[in-house]
Assembly symmetry: C2
Homo-oligomer: 154 residues x 2
C-alpha cells in the first residue's frame, strides 16, 4: 500500500464513524447545540467535512490558498453533504504523490510555520477525531444511546 492508500484507509476508520453519527441527526436537530456558545450540529458537521477537504486540497496545491477560499455549498442535507465531501476528499487524497507528502508548504499565515504535506494531513486527521469526539456528545444529547465505537477498523 502506498502512502496515499494507507492514509485513506486510516482516514476512513474515523470518517465512517462520523458518517454513522451524521445518519443519526434528524433534520429537526440540525440547529441543536449542547451549550449556548457551541456550534450547532449543522455547523459542526459542515466544519468537519469542509476542513478535511480543504486540508487535502492544500497538500495537493502545495500552498495555503484552498484554506482561504470560501466554501459555497447549497446542499442542506447533512447526509448528502457528507457523501459529497467524503468522495471529493478521497479523490484528492488518491491523487497525492510521494512528493506531495514530503513537500514543505508555507503555512506561516495560518499556523505560523512551514509544514510538510504529511504533517498537514496528520493535523486534518486529528482534527476529525477531535470534532467527532464533540459530535458524540451532541448525538447522545439528541437521545441516541446506541452509538458506534470511536474508530471502525476492518
Amino acid at each position: 500500500m502506498n502512502r496515499a492508500s494507507q492514509f485513506i484507509h486510516n482516514f476512513l476508520t474515523h470518517r465512517n464513524v462520523t458518517i454513522d453519527l451524521i445518519n443519526k441527526i434528524e433534520q429537526g436537530n440540525y440547529d441543536f447545540k449542547p451549550t449556548e456558545t457551541s456550534m450547532t450540529a449543522e455547523q459542526l458537521v459542515t466544519h468537519m467535512l469542509t476542513s478535511f477537504y480543504k486540508f487535502a486540497a492544500v497538500v495537493k496545491a502545495g500552498d495555503v490558498s484552498p484554506l482561504m477560499a470560501p466554501i459555497e455549498d447549497t446542499e442542506t442535507n447533512l447526509v448528502k453533504l457528507a457523501d459529497k465531501y467524503t468522495s471529493e476528499t478521497i479523490s484528492l487524497l488518491e491523487s497525492l504523490t510521494e512528493e506531495d507528502f514530503d513537500r514543505v508548504i508555507d503555512l506561516t499565515r495560518v499556523f505560523g510555520a512551514n509544514l510538510p504535506g504529511a504533517h498537514v494531513l496528520q493535523m486534518a486527521y486529528e482534527h476529525e477525531i477531535h470534532h467527532k469526539g464533540n459530535l458524540f456528545v451532541y448525538v447522545r444529547a439528541m437521545g441516541h444511546t446506541e452509538l458506534p465505537l470511536f474508530v471502525k477498523r476492518g
Copy 2:
C-alpha cells in the same frame, strides 16, 4: 529523536490540553454529565488517564495483562490524578525500546487481533484525542468559553 521521544512529544501536544481542561473543572462539577447516559466528568477524566497508562503498560509488558488489572487509586483530586498518571505514563513511554514498538502483542481477547506495540500506542493516542473532544463539550457546558485549541504544538 528516537521513537519513544517522538511519541512522548506528540502525546504531550494533546495531554497538555487535556490537563488545561481538567484545571477548569471545579470539584463541584465532578459529577456533571452532559446527558443522562454520559459518563460523569470524573469518570471520563479517570478513564482517559488510566487508559493511556494501561495501553503504555501493555506495550512495555508485551502482553494484555495490564489492561485487565483493576486500577485502585485513592486520589480524588482530578488535577493531582492527572499529574500522577501523566508522569507515570511518560516514565513508561521513556522506557520503551525499538523492539517494544515493533513487538507484536496478542490482543485477540480485547481487540480480536495481534497488534504491534506501535499500533497499540497509536490507538491510545487517538483514544485521548477522541475523549478530549468529549471533554471540551463538558467544560463548555460548565460555563467556560475561553478554551484552548485542541492541540498545543510547541
